[in-house]
């Protein structure tokens, strides 16, 4: 029995040309699943506060960290977190990227800038992901100061999109 790697490898390739020409039978199926995730205490409160135009975190009194997004447990100390603490709706860009893709991988007409924003008032580096607007992609920098642009109160539903995006903080 040969111990060497095979000289022939299995696999019948389908080229995109053959795919378009429908050379092989395709069996389509569309799936749709609905979930209604309980937001629970932490995320529930976080979203409720977003509706009020505020960002809230949780503090662990042992390590002293103020955690955003808030959670009812501290993962480092493995104990319940202790109190709710409001943090600011402005902060600093930790990192960013510029997307030229739609969700289905097709090319987008205009680029989307996304960033991880560390929020003032939370522990260092604590923050969340959001969209960045009103700045040219080439002008974005790590360390840039940004602030939340909220939707009008009437349009806020208790969702992360109650913040429309973050924009540069003009001093």
């Amino acid at each position: 029995m040969s111990r060497m790697a095979r000289s022939r490898y299995d696999g019948v390739e389908i080229t995109s040309k053959e795919l378009k020409a429908q050379k092989y039978k395709i069996f389509p199926f569309t799936a749709r699943f609905n979930y209604d995730w309980s937001t629970g205490e932490a995320v529930g409160r976080f979203l409720a506060e977003l509706k009020e135009g505020r960002i809230i975190g949780r503090r662990c009194s042992r390590c002293g960290r103020i955690l955003v997004p808030p959670r009812m447990f501290c993962e480092e100390d493995f104990r319940p977190t202790d109190e709710w603490i409001y943090v600011k709706d402005h902060g600093t860009i930790k990192t960013y990227s510029v997307s030229y893709l739609n969700a289905d991988a097709s090319r987008a007409e205009k680029p989307t800038v996304v960033a991880v924003i560390a929020l003032d008032g939370a522990s260092e580096g604590m923050g969340f992901l959001h969209l960045l607007e009103e700045v040219a992609p080439g002008k974005v920098e790590i360390g840039m100061r940004v602030k939340a642009r909220w939707k009008p109160k009437a349009q806020r539903r208790g969702a992360i999109t109650d913040i429309a995006s973050f924009v540069p903080e003009v001093s």
Binding site: M4, Y9, I14, Y35, T95, S99, Y100, L101, A105, F128
Partner: protein, 387 residues
């Protein structure tokens, strides 16, 4: 009570954007090739470990169950393990404990992925990996977040896109010698820099493709291995680690979880100076910057130093520490769980001197393979040694 465990056979299919074979058939083809390579039949196999990433690709709930007949699981203990992109190098770790525990003498370990089933593009299936309330409503795209990590890494250590692009050039070039490779090509740094931005700073040639494919190994106890082959490849060290879900709170420039996984594996393998003691490395490279990021986490390069190492030619196939002589994911393809297994197969062949045109120049006796997954969160590491 721990027994020594060896890889005694390996096999894989072609990696392509679209293969005709079903997931079951891909699993079978890779398993059959691995069994042939080991010189054993399915009846000799005590247990099977399967690894395959999200259900969202194959379009079957509990897809481990669906695939099991293709992977030889009928009538025997069969388990699917799942740690996102880290699965491919976690499969052999699970196979390791099946045998080291004494519960099996021979274990077949298979990695399968069929991403082509998703229309119009596998990209869309990834939306469901993100936080239900805090991220999905933003329309988040998988490449966004890796681009965020790449940007942070570049910023922290002052690494330029051109330096990173060298990895894509190296790996796609290495893949020209891999018979299963999907995207082998001779390209230049300029080609990479000119390729269209997908999510800047990630450009088209910085990224590995979605793929179909499967790869498998046969793992055996020392006693059985020595009966079947004069050159078993020992699994001497295994390690794995996961970081906090809250990736936006973490420092993305350095994979601390990988450092811990690597140290766990090195400790088990009795390696105290990995940079000197590792002869060849297969580091997970779904993006070119990841190879650099991972070399640092693997303790094979100082923080921020991997780009310089690459520029100096150290990681070339004929270099001092060849990295991804297979061609990696960038060159061979990225059918997620199978890609990690491809790296294990590569180490198996390299450490036995059976890698043909891909064989590294130096005398390779100790190799490390690594995979990465979840929300930039998990790594699996395996150290292998020739006899």
């Amino acid at each position: 009570m721990r027994r020594r465990v060896a890889v005694i056979g390996a096999g894989m299919t072609l990696f392509r954007r679209r293969l005709l074979e079903t997931g079951k058939e891909l699993s079978f083809e890779a398993s059959r090739a691995a069994l042939d390579s080991a010189g054993v039949e399915l009846k000799d196999v005590d247990s099977v470990v399967m690894g395959t990433a999200p259900e969202a690709f194959d379009g079957v709930h509990m897809k481990g169950e669906y695939l099991l007949d293709g992977a030889g699981g009928v009538g025997r203990p069969y388990t699917r393990v799942y740690v996102g992109g880290g699965t491919g190098v976690f499969i052999p770790i699970a196979a390791y404990w099946h045998v080291a525990s004494g519960l099996s003498d021979v274990c077949l370990a298979v990695g399968e992925e069929k991403m082509s089933s998703v229309y119009p593009h596998p990209q869309g299936a990834f939306n469901s990996i993100f936080d239900q309330q805090l991220e999905r409503p933003l329309g988040v795209n998988l490449v966004w977040i890796f681009a965020l990590e790449m940007r942070r890494y570049m910023h922290k250590y002052g690494i330029k896109e051109e330096e990173i692009a060298e990895v894509a050039v190296k790996n796609k070039g290495n893949a020209l010698a891999h018979p299963c490779a999907q995207l082998a090509a001779k390209i230049t740094v300029e080609d990479v820099m000119k390729s269209e931005p997908m999510v800047w700073p990630v450009k088209r040639l910085d990224i590995s493709p979605p793929s179909d494919g499967a790869a498998a190994i046969v793992v055996a106890s020392e006693e059985v291995a020595k009966k079947l082959t004069p050159s078993p490849v020992w699994i001497d060290g295994v390690g794995w680690n996961i970081d906090s879900t809250y990736w936006t709170d973490r420092e993305l420039a350095y994979p601390l979880y990988l450092e811990k996984a690597a140290k766990m594996a090195y400790k088990m393998a009795g390696i105290s100076n990995p940079r000197k003691e590792i002869d060849v490395a297969e580091a997970y490279d779904p993006f070119d910057y990841k190879e650099l990021h991972h070399l640092e986490g693997l303790q094979l390069a100082g923080k921020g130093e991997a780009a310089r190492m690459t520029a100096e030619g150290i990681t070339q196939r004929n270099g001092e520490l060849p990295v991804n002589p297979s061609g990696g994911l960038l060159g061979v393809g990225n059918p997620i769980a199978a890609a990690g297994m491809m790296k294990i197969c590569e180490l198996f062949w390299q450490l036995r001197g059976e890698a043909g045109k891909r064989q590294v120049k130096k005398d390779a006796r100790t190799g490390v393979a690594q995979a990465w997954g979840d929300l930039m969160q998990f790594s699996s590491v395996v150290v292998m040694r020739s006899s």
